[in-house]
Symmetry: C2
């Protein structure tokens, strides 16, 4: 058993995977098939398009944001909401334009990244 | 993609798996290999001894609690802390005596339950 108390080492999300300022702790926990991270999106910041072979669960612990799957509508999410993305489903997630968002991300399998979410896509 | 907004249906944890009052939402999300739940332990409440074939990650979002693996020391955990339990490792978790605790639980594989955590075990 290992307890991670997150006393430091927050890292900025790389520019080829995120637009705007995104911060995350190093991996805070893992099961046999998943990794668990905590991610902070500053207002307007978002991930690039990406997918996971075993899917992903996001649980919003603070603030408000947006999530969209390829071909779907943008959905607003708020603290307390939980998003399940199916295996192989392309999607992006990020903060709302005027809010920051913190979420846990439970990622099943290695993430595959595609292009950035453009301003037009972000604004819907 | 599915967004769970948790507008109701909180259920009490069954007495053969929990001591004291424990409340949880129905499963709020899942990946291919894991299920994600949010659990509230009222002061003094705790799980029975249990283990998971693929391990478990707990992320404390509110309050303070205790966690212990079989043969190990009781460890105090607080909001922001994350606990990783290895595959097959027997353990229990719960609220501190004078605090409630809310955590996310990411469970990899079907949980196997053993006996209750006695008052002596709980008090350390």
């Amino acid at each position: 058993m290992e307890v991670a108390r997150k006393t430091g080492h927050a890292a900025k999300g790389p520019a080829d995977r995120f637009t705007g300022d995104v911060w995350m702790w190093p991996r805070i926990g893992a099961t046999e098939h998943t990794e668990v991270r905590v991610v902070l999106f500053t207002p307007g910041a978002r991930s690039a398009w990406h997918r996971h072979p075993g899917g992903q669960v996001l649980h919003v612990t603070e603030g408000a944001g947006l999530v969209q799957s390829r071909g779907g509508v943008r959905e607003e999410i708020r603290a307390g909401d939980t998003v399940t993305t199916a295996p192989g489903e392309w999607h992006w997630h990020g903060a709302a334009a005027g809010a920051f968002m913190v979420h846990l991300a439970v990622t099943d399998g290695t993430t595959e990244w595609a292009g950035e979410v453009t301003d037009d896509e972000y604004r819907g």
